[in-house]
């Protein structure tokens, strides 16, 4: 039997509680700082505007393209490389009286003067009203997911579990957003989908640990242990599974990051960060929180169900 993570004795995770909480708090605050300070580099779906993706048959100098596009005087135009030296993306703001087809044709015509080997791969135009809706829908979705998870976990476990899980979760989400703000990666609709998927995925992780904590509370041979020891045991027992599962998911996501091309890049990046922090937060954020909220054995075992053991 191959075993990577067989630990004979429980690792005292809870005694590191103060340090890990401090680390989390610092990363969280940093993420919030970057979010407020730098803001998200929202994709065209949210801001409205026109995106043109172009491909040259031979590699091209970005600066050249930039000068050409700037010469069109379409306000705040952005030119970026898309993975290779042949693929570029031009982002233009909405201009009154010009349709996106006109805009993209203007760009193509200008660029063709210099290099005739360029062709349009994709044009995307989003009107200004659509973006606002997407933002509000996105926020509604996040709120709804949180509420749904709180309700479900409250029913299946207890409110302390539900609240700890959701805080740990939001911690992950904010940190992903913080990364996107810090590096100014483009925040697109697919990235939003990834963030929401992380929300479901990361809760999943907390649930596995919580499940074990609940089970430990009920186990007769755990009766002598105090709450931190029970939590430590639960985390240690599920650790092997945690790392293997996340490793597998991460392999899949990395595969998307490597082979998926530009279109899946943001999605895979968000998931990678989400998964890494998901492991950390479910073990080292959710569980200390649970302890802080003062979870006890009685919370999990309804008094009626406790069988009286004869004291001999």
């Amino acid at each position: 039997m191959i075993e990577f993570f067989h630990v004979k004795r429980d690792i005292p995770f809870m005694s590191y509680g103060k340090i890990t909480t401090a680390i989390s708090l610092v990363t969280f605050l940093l993420a919030v700082f970057f979010l407020v300070h730098k803001g998200l580099n929202l994709g065209v779906e949210f801001t409205g505007g026109t995106v043109v993706e172009l491909q040259y048959s031979q590699s091209v100098d970005l600066n050249q393209v930039r000068t050409k596009v700037d010469a069109l005087k379409y306000g705040d135009a952005q030119v970026q490389a898309l993975g290779t030296t042949r693929d570029i993306m031009v982002r233009l703001p909405n201009i009154k009286g010009k349709t996106s087809a006109q805009l993209s044709n203007d760009v193509l015509d200008t660029l063709k003067q210099e290099r005739p080997d360029v062709q349009i791969r994709k044009v995307e135009f989003i009107g200004p009203s659509v973006g606002d809706e997407l933002v509000s829908h996105g926020l509604t979705a996040i709120t709804l997911v949180c509420l749904g998870i709180i309700v479900y976990l409250s029913v299946r476990f207890e409110w302390r579990f539900a609240v700890s899980a959701i805080i740990a979760n939001m911690h992950d989400v904010i940190i992903i957003l913080g990364f996107f703000a810090f590096f100014q990666w483009e925040f697109t609709l697919t990235v939003l989908a990834a963030v929401l998927a992380v929300l479901g995925y990361s809760v999943n992780e907390s649930v596995v640990v919580f499940d074990r904590i609940r089970e430990n509370f009920r186990k007769p041979n755990m009766r002598g242990r105090d709450v931190p020891q029970i939590i430590d045991n639960a985390i240690t027992a599920t650790m092997s599974r945690t790392i293997i599962t996340h490793g597998s998911t991460e392999v899949m996501v990395l595969s998307m990051l490597i082979f998926g091309g530009a279109a899946l890049h943001g999605f895979a990046t968000a998931l990678t960060i989400g998964i890494l922090f998901g492991i950390y937060s479910s073990v080292l954020v959710a569980s200390p929180l649970l302890l802080m909220f003062g979870v006890t054995r009685e919370n999990m075992i309804k008094p009626v169900k406790v069988k009286q053991e004869a004291v001999v």
């Binding site: 039997m1 191959i2 993706e53 349709t99 996106s100 087809a101 993209s104 349009i120 791969r121 994709k122 044009v123 995307e124 135009f125 989003i126 009107g127 009203s129 659509v130 829908h137 996105g138 509604t140 979705a141 709804l144 997911v145 749904g148 998870i149 479900y152 976990l153 299946r156 609709l189 697919t190 939003l192 989908a193 929401l196 998927a197 479901g200 995925y201 809760v203 999943n204 649930v207 596995v208 499940d211 074990r212 599920t238 092997s240 293997i244 599962t245 597998s248 998911t249 392999v251 899949m252 996501v253 595969s255 998307m256 490597i258 082979f259 998926g260 091309g261 279109a263 899946l264 999605f267």
Partner: protein, 608 residues
């Protein structure tokens, strides 16, 4: 212990076989085809047409690989897109305007699979290339247009009932009819209430203001708006059909928005031009009173007239004064075809429907020796195409308009009139064009990343968990097939985020198996017998699997409800994937383990 009853094994076998059958069609791929369908109700698609197009293609030097005929279309299948394009041009030229010739992709699914109902997943625009539009209907314009029409109707009805009326004033959100005295106000109000049951009719009998005003009730306003969107959807359908696009998607989204997806279309400007145009025809009378014309040229035209420009035959436009009252609109048009008039000039020949024909006959009967103007209204601006003198009553509902137009303009105008007018103009709020090469790349990349990720996971599981790992890997394959089969059966459109969701679902589905396998190991470690370990391992892991999947499902459902477009594609796959993974990871993998270990009496160890 650890044996399934026979029916459970059978259930697993049956579900897997069904999954394989319905996944299969996706493996055969699609080949380019040219689709010929009728552009008019009177032109039928029949075997003769099939022979004809095959003949045309063969003469052009490209015999089709296969010919598929259904009720509405003939499809010729070819090996590559180059041939497809050439044949399309050849067929188009040979058949002319009676047929619409479009590019399409035809699945290469074998016939026996098709008979079983197997069909491949439809590919989203990001995977096959094409144009996507989101159009917003301008509701204010719809209301305004409807009021215009109401004003005309009011006049006609009052005239029919022989009620004398003064000015009919079309105000911002109402139509006001000025009347002479209290008696006519009552008469008019009664008549109009009968004639317009949907409108609020308010009489006013002030001493110096006898009038009746008509406004929309909230209910009729809502109805009007929903009708406007519906009519626009219908009109767009007609126009897109005229454009010759295979499998277009035209759907209402939300209250006042319409999604149009045209797979395979690359020329956005032509598509947009045809979709967004609000061309309609109006027939109005011309005011040839010299004093009125002088006043109008000086800048103050009489109240019931408006100055327009006349597109003269020589190409120079000249001013012309027309009455505001619209006698007839494009809504009464049955058919419109490009034609040539007696002088060989390009023209549009129009056939009116029967109410239209009646109105037109009455109009020409009442106004002999006067001029009527044929006005083409586009984007809210009217232009007089031609303004002939009425020589006598014209019955039969046949009208020809000719002015200074090129044959191309005549063809476009006929197309727009034939396809019907839009109830309200629309603005494009979202537009996406994806080139076909990009779509192809997206598929390849999505497929590759899923495959490599899957292989890495499967190999790891088999090495790390041995027999249990093999069963997990098989369960994962089964999961993939269940997922693909369900998506194909449900007719879900596959998008790039959808492929990402498939990959992610597989990556997450393995969680259930890891949970089980780890649990079984733990039970063994705690000194349980192998059989008990399997039993307890599965039982204990199940509660955890259920909880974690439900929470993930909550996130998936929220995405499904609030997501739009690409996100929805992701959410569908994600949600279905969670459900299939529960089935395969718990039920199927247990079946395999039971089969392997369950029938061994003396089992001393497990390969886990």
């Amino acid at each position: 212990m650890n044996r399934y009853p026979l029916w459970k094994y059978l259930l697993i076998i049956v579900t897997v076989v069904v999954a394989v059958l319905y996944t299969l069609p996706n493996l055969f791929g699609e080949s380019p085809a040219v689709q010929i369908s009728s552009a008019r109700a009177t032109v039928k698609v029949d075997p003769a047409l099939q022979e004809r197009v095959v003949d045309i293609a063969t003469k052009a030097g490209f015999a089709p690989d296969a010919v598929l005929t259904d009720e509405n279309s003939v499809k010729l299948r070819f090996k590559d897109t180059d041939t497809q394009l050439k044949v399309k041009d050849a067929v188009q030229t040979a058949l002319g305007d009676d047929y619409s010739v479009a590019l399409n992709l035809v699945p290469q699914t074998p016939a026996w699979l098709v008979r079983l109902g197997g069909k491949p997943m439809a590919l989203g625009l990001d995977l096959r290339g094409g144009v996507h539009f989101l159009l917003e209907v301008d509701m204010d314009a719809a209301v305004s247009k409807s009021l215009d029409k109401t004003a005309g109707e009011v006049r006609r009805q009052l005239r029919d009932k022989a009620i004398r009326y003064g000015k009919i004033d079309r105000q911002r959100d109402s139509v006001v009819v000025q009347l002479r005295d209290a008696q006519t106000v009552d008469d008019a109000a009664n008549a109009l209430r009968k004639g317009f049951p949907n409108l609020a009719v308010t009489p006013s009998k002030d001493a110096n203001n006898y009038s009746v005003s008509l406004t929309f009730t909230p209910a009729s306003l809502a109805q009007l708006k929903s009708d406007a969107v519906k009519q626009n959807v219908t009109t767009l359908h007609n126009r897109v059909n005229e454009l010759g696009v295979a499998e277009p998607v035209i759907q209402q989204q939300g209250e006042g928005r319409i999604v149009v997806e045209l797979p395979g279309v690359q020329d956005t400007s032509k598509a947009k031009d045809i979709l967004g145009r609000t061309a309609t025809l109006e027939v109005r009378l011309v005011d040839d009173d010299q004093s009125h014309i002088q006043a109008a040229l000086a800048g103050n035209p009489p109240d019931d007239t408006v100055l327009m420009s006349d597109r003269g035959r020589n190409g120079q436009s000249s001013p012309i004064l027309v009455r505001k009252d619209v006698e007839l609109t494009g809504d009464n048009i049955n058919d419109a075809q490009p034609a040539f008039d007696e002088q060989g000039q390009p023209a549009v020949s129009i056939t009116l429907d029967s109410p239209g024909a009646t109105i037109f006959r009455q109009l020409t009967h009442d106004n002999v020796n006067k001029r009527m103007a044929m006005i083409l209204v586009e984007k809210g601006k009217g232009e007089v195409v031609t303004a002939p003198v009425i020589r006598g009553e014209i019955g039969g509902g046949r009208v020809q308009i000719s002015g200074a137009m090129t044959p191309d303009q005549a063809r476009d105008t006929a197309l727009l009139l034939r396809a019907g007018s839009l109830a309200a103009p629309m603005n494009i709020v979202e537009e996406r064009t994806v080139g076909p090469s990009l779509g192809k790349e997206n598929i390849e990349r999505g497929f590759e990343s899923t495959m490599y990720g899957f292989l890495a996971i499967a190999v790891f599981m088999m090495i790390y968990y041995r027999v249990f790992g093999v069963s997990s890997a098989i369960a994962l394959i089964a999961n993939l097939m269940f997922l693909l089969a369900l998506l194909s059966m449900l007719g879900v459109t596959l998008t790039l985020p959808g492929i990402a969701a498939i990959a992610l679902t597989l990556g997450m589905a393995i969680d259930s198996n890891v949970l089980i396998n780890e649990r079984v190991r733990e039970e063994l470690r705690n000194g349980m017998t192998p059989h008990m370990s399997i039993q307890n391992g599965y039982a204990h892991a199940f509660a955890t699997i259920l909880d974690s999947n439900v929470t993930t499902l909550i996130a998936g459902l929220a995405l499904l409800i609030f997501g739009s477009g690409a996100i929805r594609g992701f959410a569908w796959v994600h949600c279905i994937g969670i459900i299939t993974s529960m089935y395969s990871a718990v039920f199927v993998s247990r079946g395999l383990i039971n089969l392997f270990y369950g029938y061994r009496r003396r089992l001393s160890s497990l390969a886990v």
